[in-house]
């Protein structure tokens, strides 16, 4: 006796992403409406631009030491942001540092993300004893504060750009594993998956056809938010004496080298710090916007 008037379609979250074209257009229009998202987007673009073309923009060679010009305050002798303790141009070093920060953030996300995603999928999709073991490992690692873990690993495997990326990745993959696993678990229960299973589609095919495409959004969101964490963590580890080592113009490094000059030459520690902050701010803004736009359900955390 009860017949329902058909519900308006499109009210619930579509399971599979709509066409690329419309999605991009939708993202763009949403970006235009969010000042934080736009700010973040511009900062990220700028960062990418600097890291790709920085070497042609930088007014000086970031590694070139000019002893007679050391510790020049900003706006002297053509050094817009001044020079450091070896007379190297800070602006040029910051531009070169942008590239390192981007490399650190992106590479770490790539490594940690790939590994964590694989673990998360294996764990969440195939379940069984493997899931138990993998999640136990994740628990173990989560039983240790991230920054301390990165520090310990970096102290053990040694400093340098490659090793700090590796340390961050080792410290960071669990987040991806956790998130991906719970997404997979949720997806497994969705009707279209159950339906596919019921019609005898092979598991692997389901994985690639249905599960993976739907993991894209949460992974992108998580990645963008994690990048900021990694950049700040790298700076912190550098500050403590590990991490990327001089003369590499990584921002964290510049900070850690410049902190001894906090009284005499404020610009050494100010500019890289601001750069880290703006970058983290931009990436966070962008990540937040991405999350709010692509996946309103995730809004909580």
């Amino acid at each position: 006796m009860t017949i329902e008037i058909p519900e308006q379609p499109g009210s619930s979250r579509p399971a599979v992403t709509p066409g690329k074209q419309s999605k991009l257009a939708f993202l763009w229009s949403s970006l235009l409406h969010s000042w934080t998202g736009m700010t973040g987007f511009i900062i990220i673009l700028l960062l990418l631009f600097l890291s790709l073309f920085g070497q042609w923009i930088a007014p000086f060679d970031p590694m070139h030491a000019e002893f007679s010009k050391k510790l020049l305050p900003p706006m002297t002798d053509g050094h817009l942001l001044g020079t450091d303790q070896l007379g190297r141009d800070i602006l040029s070093r910051m531009i070169a540092g942008a590239r390192i920060s981007v490399i650190i953030g992106v590479m770490t996300v790539l490594i940690a993300g790939t590994f964590g995603t694989v673990v998360g999928i294996v764990s969440g999709y195939f379940r069984g004893w493997l899931d138990v073991v993998l999640m136990r490992i994740v628990d173990v690692q989560l039983s240790f504060p991230f920054i301390l873990l990165v520090l310990v690993i970096n102290a053990i495997i040694g400093t340098g750009l490659k090793n700090i990326i590796l340390s961050l990745a080792i410290g960071g993959w669990v987040i991806f594993a956790r998130v991906v696993r719970s997404e997979v678990l949720a997806l497994r229960e969705k009707e279209f998956i159950t339906a596919s299973v019921a019609t005898g589609v092979p598991r692997i095919q389901i994985l690639f056809k249905h599960i993976l495409p739907n993991l894209f959004t949460p992974i992108i969101i998580l990645s963008s938010l994690q990048i900021a964490t990694y950049i700040i963590a790298e700076a912190s580890v550098s500050f403590l004496g590990f991490g990327v080592q001089p003369p590499n113009p990584a921002w964290g490094n510049m900070l850690s080298e410049g902190k001894d000059y906090i009284f005499s030459s404020w610009w050494l520690i100010t500019f890289p710090g601001v750069a880290i902050m703006i970058t983290a701010l931009g990436v966070n803004f962008f990540g937040d916007w991405l999350r709010d736009t692509l996946d309103p359900e995730l809004k909580g955390e």
Binding site: T36, R136, I137, D139, V140, Q141, S143, F144, P145, F146, I147, L148, L149, L151, V152, I153, A155, I156, I157, G158, A228, I232, A235, S236, F239, L240, G241, G252, L255, K259, I262, F263, I269, G273, I276, M277, I278, T279, A280, L281, N284, F285, D288, K299, G300, E301
Partner: protein, 305 residues
């Protein structure tokens, strides 16, 4: 309930043991600490002798077995540098770290929950926008940088607060603030979004429809619902606070566990590193356990099970 507790205790044990195992092998594979302690003019035979005295020349698995056997009895060996009981040294630093972490936590909660609630309630107002902007900045600012800034301003320039060291309440202000900055930002954001979520819920409408006034609605109804996710986050973040304590402790010369751990890493003083890992993993696991209990306490759906 008892089942739950027992299960969790076993789980905590496994987690801690596994953590120790991993760190043990990582550390042992990382190299040999002996040269760092002996005087630079020590001849090679002396170094070898010392190394074998410390047992670093035996097969790794034998070392591991020995270590685990002692570790489960709470014996992590003596510090290579000071020869004191490693676990004892770590435990000795623990109160200072707790003091810092807890005061930072208390400060964060006291500031962030009201701020987050207010921000959610006055959504999209100027107040909310400022609060949100501040929280994003708070999460973006590197803590050592912020700490140095505070020292520079309050200790060196204004000379109103000490630059660090353990001791009285005034010594705690700057490190607490530094350590709390991140969690204040994080908790505020989280409280705000959780609160927004809860305020959208049907049962809030029900309460409104019953004529419950707004202040009571927020203080009694919405907050209690928000509390569950907040507790989970706080528990997770207490670990972050402990981790962040390393940096804060170094910047502010705070005599805590993080500083000891860093020093030991720099010195390759492995027994202390292992004891430190043990304690931190244990604390972390215990905190999570307590959080689960608390969680059950505020969430009746779990309590009954």
């Amino acid at each position: 309930m008892l089942d739950f507790v027992i299960k969790r205790v076993i789980q905590v044990g496994i987690v801690v043991l596994l953590a120790l195992t991993v760190v043990f092998f990582l550390i042992r594979l990382s190299g040999d600490p002996t040269p760092l302690f002996l005087p630079p003019d020590a001849p090679r035979e002396q170094i070898d002798e010392y190394r074998s005295k410390l047992g670093f020349d035996r097969p790794l698995l034998v070392q591991y077995g020995e270590f685990m056997k002692n570790a489960v009895q709470g014996d992590f060996g003596n510090s290579l540098r000071s020869k004191e009981d490693a676990l004892g040294m770590v435990l000795q630093r623990l109160p200072a770290t707790f003091q810092l972490a807890i005061s930072a936590l208390v400060l964060s909660l006291l500031i962030s929950i009201p701020l987050g609630v207010l921000s959610a309630f006055k959504r999209n107002s100027i107040f909310d926008r400022i609060a949100v902007a501040l929280t994003v900045i708070g999460q973006a600012i590197p803590s050592f940088w912020f700490g140095l800034l505070l020292i520079f301003i309050f200790a060196a320039q204004l000379k109103v607060l000490p630059s660090g060291g353990g001791g009285s309440i005034v010594h705690m202000i700057l490190p607490t603030l530094t350590l709390a900055a991140y969690s204040i930002a994080r908790f505020t954001r989280f409280t705000r979004s959780t609160m927004l979520d809860v305020l959208r819920k049907d049962f809030i409408r029900t309460a409104k429809a019953s004529g419950v006034p707004t202040p009571r609605l927020i203080a009694r109804y919405a907050l209690k619902n928000s509390l569950i996710p907040i507790i989970t986050l706080v528990a997770l973040d207490l670990g972050t606070l402990l981790g962040g304590a390393v940096i804060t402790e170094v910047v502010f010369s705070w005599p805590g566990i993080g500083r000891l751990l860093l020093q030991s890493l720099l010195n390759r003083d492995f027994p202390i590193v292992l004891a430190g890992v043990f304690i931190i993993a244990l604390i972390y696991a215990v905190i999570n356990f307590v959080a689960d209990l608390l969680y059950a306490f505020v969430n009746p759906q779990i309590r009954v099970r």
